[in-house]
Symmetry: C2
Subunit: 492 residues, 2 copies
């Protein structure tokens, strides 16, 4: 049984070794993975091994080669995109579940916290009127929500799109979704996957703050109705990925309700912003939402792979996503719940696998549960206020500094600014160059976006490791590099 032992045991010793390496990794004293790429590529690039090396060798390779040359994303200086490294509570929860509860279903303690954590999350984020289901990320979470919207819209014209499809008698009716020009592209993809088509997403212009122009939405709706198109959903951003803008939720939600159209709020990044008492007013109207998504793996600090869709009524998700009635799971003859539960295998519990696109799925609720138990609502509020403060502080510095320009007042924890100097001809090219140089140095790693025509340096503070000192550090480096580039005479 030596091989079996190696395949299935020794967790304390192996996790302890790995934990030491991870603690060391979290000091971030190592160079960027690519800067040491020749070595690790040589070590990894092997043909398919016929014989195994055993678990000790694998753990050593994980520690010495993989972890040692891993991602820059968890680094406190990384403020690009909207992704971060998971917190310790998340890692512990994932590790525990991966061994002792490989599935979210059955009547176990892990299954219990799947629902409990969804309830906690909805209460904490001001959407207590909705019920949730986890999935692996914002893309799937939006897909699930819009699957519910598709179901409602087509049922409204007498068609069950999930069962009958849309290529039969419903097919003559082109569908429309409405989202602003700031919406995440995953909205288009979801429309594509659902058979509505990416082009069915009507792009509504936003104002100078990145908020949807509701009067344009109203016009588009009227136009499409007049031409016989079927409105499926109005999609609002509660925190755009580009600038953190929050759409006018109440106006959009009231319009949606008046028109009988599903109102979806994409809060993948920004929904936790509601915890900041200074910002909660921006979320006014959230109670009108038919569906809301949030990614605990963004601002709440879960390791990547944890998103949630919330809807008024999970029955509509059931109709949209059920795997045919009756034969719920392969080989299961116990379709009817037994008269009483004597064993954890007696029931699957809440049929999460019928509310989305996954059957087998890891336990994600335990991750959210562990994070909320660790720091409580108050801990999240403090973290979110701190991140919003960081964006505000950066905005103030940029406003005051002669060589910096604030491009947009921050809504949440994103701040868009750039380096300026009268000697620069092409500010976009210059800031692009500056940003590349900055990232090369591996200490401060924001990404960019556009604000109007301007290329912006765009830090987004969402990580548990994002602390106030990163603001001054980033500013100092941007100013230093900008002036170095100016001196080098290469002003784009």
């Amino acid at each position: 049984m030596d091989r079996e032992l190696a395949e299935t045991g020794h967790l304390q010793a192996l996790l302890s070794q790995l934990g030491a390496a991870l603690d060391n990794y979290l000091n971030f004293t190592h160079p960027d993975a690519l800067q040491s790429g020749v070595d690790w590529k040589r070590q990894l690039d092997r043909p398919l091994p016929e014989r195994g090396e055993g678990i000790e060798a694998v753990n050593r390779a994980l520690i010495d080669t993989l972890v040692a040359h891993a991602s820059a994303i968890p680094n406190p200086g990384f403020s690009g995109y909207i992704t971060t490294g998971g917190v310790t509570a998340s890692t512990l929860a994932l590790t525990a579940a991966s061994v002792s509860s490989p599935q979210r279903y059955m009547l176990t303690a892990f299954n219990f916290v799947e629902e409990l954590s969804l309830e906690w999350l909805s209460q904490m984020l001001g959407i207590g009127h909705l019920k949730g289901v986890y999935s692996s990320g914002g893309s799937v979470a939006n897909l699930v929500a819009l699957g519910g919207a598709r179901q409602q819209a087509f049922e409204g014209i007498g068609i069950d799109p999930a069962s009958e499809g849309m290529t039969g008698r419903g097919g003559q009716r082109p569908a429309c979704l409405y989202a602003s020009d700031q919406c995440h592209h995953t909205i288009q993809r979801a429309a594509g996957v659902l058979g509505l088509g990416r082009r069915s997403v009507r792009i509504i212009p936003s104002d100078g703050s990145g908020r949807m122009r509701v009067e344009a939405l109203e016009r588009a709706l009227a136009e499409d109705r007049a031409e016989g198109r079927l409105p499926v959903a109005i999609v609002a951003n509660a925190g755009t990925t580009n600038t953190g803008a929050i759409d006018p939720l109440r106006a959009m939600g009231e319009l949606a309700r008046a028109q009988g159209v599903w109102f979806h709020v994409d809060g993948a990044y920004g929904l936790p912003g509601i915890l900041d008492p200074r910002k909660s007013v921006l979320y006014d109207g959230l109670e009108l939402a038919d569906s809301v998504i949030v990614d605990p793996h963004k601002w709440l600090g879960a390791s990547v792979g944890v998103a949630a869709t919330f809807v008024r009524d999970r029955d509509i998700l059931m109709r949209a996503f059920t795997q045919e009635p009756a034969d719920y799971l392969e080989g299961s003859m116990q379709r009817d719940e037994p008269e009483r539960f004597d064993h954890s295998l007696d029931s699957f519990g809440i049929p999460y696998f019928d509310f989305g696109v996954e059957l087998s799925a890891p336990c994600r609720g335990v991750v959210v549960w562990s994070m909320i138990r660790e720091i409580g609502v108050e801990g999240f509020r403090q973290r979110i206020v701190r991140h919003n403060d960081m964006a505000l502080e950066l905005a103030e510095i940029a406003r005051a500094h002669p060589q910096l320009e604030l491009l947009l007042e921050p809504t949440l924890s994103i701040c868009c600014f750039r380096f300026v100097d009268e000697r620069i001809d092409d500010l976009n090219a210059f800031n692009q160059m500056l940003l590349r140089q900055l990232v090369r140095e591996n200490r401060f790693m924001p990404t960019s976006t556009r604000v109007g025509e301007a290329l912006a340096i765009r830090p987004c503070y969402i990580g548990a490791r994002h602390a106030p000192e990163q603001v001054a550090g980033l500013v100092d480096e941007v100013v230093r590099l900008g002036n170095l580039l100016l001196q080098a005479g290469d002003s784009g």
Copy 2:
């Protein structure tokens, strides 16, 4: 920074404590979670906490409450459905990635093994002509493959379904998918999600061994063609969930090719069976597949959340799943690859996020890489042969035993049998009762299925912990319980 430290550090000490608890859990001396359910429910069922308890308390709760009352699935006696507990290599890989590489993209060692592991997997499983992408499970993996099929079929009639949708000019043309009555219901769900409709899946009858009747497939195709329907895909099982049957892949693949229809092979469970030299002939024709899926979290022993879709040409997945051209990722202005790579953030590498439904996604390749490095192809072959042997041994015992009936010769590692006795009136009700009693005892936990009209007790051996002694143990218990129930006079 005490709170920050608690949120982000201490991994060695915490993982060591948790590892000890997990090693203890893997002794399986604890009662079933539900049998001790009153206590843990009381401990867990709390209102949303305003204040946090800190990471040490969370780890204790994970250990004392969650892990201690976790799932019966990883137990070596659990042989129900097609799910199992992950092996140690998988847990180590997940834990490492969750901290040091929260995303699969960027130019890091983790990103490198994402592709390397897909190549290894395809070579090991006889589908080296295909390229892969990971997702979270078989349902999504099938959805991705059938998204490719939808794309090819509609492009063939001049429509881009992902971009234009199918509710416009393509909408008049009902689509068809073909799968046997033994196919997994996730095929229907995928058709529903994709807007083809669950009802578009034409169910083709199978023979007494659970293999699709190809002549019936041929008739259905001809009929649909005559009536103007658009064939989208022929779906074959390489190991059905009910009995492990493998469809006649060559005959189906040749028919698909002759008809110009996408040929998809669902090998979620059974594809690794090709490693057993006695079984590889059953996979003849696999090279005709346009797409194949396999779930490393089934027979290969990964923790749940790791599936792979393989296709001839990832470009078709790109067209089916891209998030609109150009703006690949939020805030990214570096659409053009820089002239050279100086930093791991310079490129996303292979755009896996355009080949499926996820953008953010955890590293799954490292899990597969770690398992293959640990035991090699030879180790997997031994494990799979052992599991197939277990099903064969059970079949032999059942054939020889006067109180057991073998209901179907095993194809792979599933064996369908039942308890029989001339005194029993209703064999189905009796075996159902027997199975419930068996599972209550928490030592042997198969599930059931139907073979024809007969309710079968159906163990499925796929776990690294499934060892030969489980066969005799299960038989002894089934016979003992059967006779006990007979004595109790309750013969159904």
